[in-house]
Symmetry: C2
Subunit: 213 residues, 2 copies
């Protein structure tokens, strides 16, 4: 098992490296246990995880995602569209399973401690669980890719979510040949990573912080 | 440095255990570097971190939080209010620093790859960075407590955020005497942690999954 900071830096958003081999059940349980150990507003634990293996569901979701890819492409300049053409945005059928992560606003309601002033605090908690899942998978040598080219209504219908439950993510999860060392979008010159010091401020926004080296 | 799963399980939402000692600058840089290594939609890296040391800002924020504590308390039943009375909800002046984490929707815009269909994907990215920060701090023996009893407008004004930038969290950060082994809200019988199997489904919501042990 790699050391903590190795996991942080090795984690990638995987598209092309899935092998399609089955994911070991005990490994999947450890990864989901890590997700479920995340902090949540008022200890509401408002997340659910739907493990999608059904090929028909995955195929239909992928078709929808490819359609949304086109919707996005039409918004791009010619130069951007050229770079976008080479970028793979999903590994839905290549991964071992899909994991749909959702938000249930009724969990612990009505008196969710810490949510009365910030309605979105519940969805924030779900994202903390997703990052725990992502890092645990990385520690286990398992790849994760977050697909976000979809309409929530479509995903809701595909996995039968009740009206109160909101889909937050479709994660492609499974064994990989390797993890890339540079993020796909950086390698394809879509965007570069920014230096840390450009996003750290002291006391007020816009006042540079002097962090130790 | 503890092993990966130890960090996941030792992480706590800290309120009462801050020592108030200064946080080592190099440690703070490592923690923020981990946050900044999080995945983000379209590699937009839409987060900023404002390190708040100014005692006047922290005092004013704390007064606002204590007021919001009262607002929440008034919504509770007598029995809930009794349990709530014993729960500490913030360590704003006890921690070494506050870290305000924000979302900048303009970062990488307009063509943020993966955000055209899900507007909230940008705030999700900020939460992934927060969880990286939280876990890295835990790995370093540093405590983190997320305070969410506040109105966004008040925090925006306190740290001078431009209109386009949204505050996502105030984190209390600093050395601690120890980390509790049981979450505060569980120890105070506010809510219990749920068994993992109650939140895992197979193919469709509500269909139980059979995870390996």
């Amino acid at each position: 098992m790699p050391a903590f900071y190795d996991v942080i830096s090795r984690r990638r958003d995987v598209r092309a490296e899935f092998t399609g081999e089955p994911i070991d059940g005990a490994t999947l349980r450890r990864i989901l246990t890590a997700a479920h150990a995340a902090p949540s507003v008022g200890l509401s634990q408002p997340w659910d995880f739907i493990i999608v293996e059904d090929p028909a569901v995955r195929k239909e979701f992928r078709e929808h995602v490819l359609h949304e890819r086109e919707v996005f492409r039409e918004q791009l300049s010619d130069e951007e569209a050229k770079r976008f053409a080479g970028i793979k945005i999903e590994g839905i059928l290549d991964a071992s399973v899909g994991v749909v992560v959702t938000y249930d606003a009724d969990r612990g309601a009505p008196a969710v401690l810490g949510r009365h002033a910030i309605a979105d605090a519940g969805t924030y908690s779900v994202c903390l669980a997703i990052q725990n899942l992502w890092l645990a998978a990385t520690a286990e040598g398992i790849g994760v890719g977050w697909v976000s080219f979809y309409r929530e209504e479509k995903l809701r219908e595909l996995v039968g979510l009740p009206e109160r439950i909101r889909p937050i993510a479709w994660l492609c999860v499974g064994p990989v040949t390797h993890l890339e060392t540079v993020p796909d979008l950086e390698r394809h010159r879509w965007r570069d990573r920014m230096p840390l010091d450009t996003v750290v401020h002291s006391d007020r926004y816009g006042r540079p912080a002097e962090l130790a080296d």
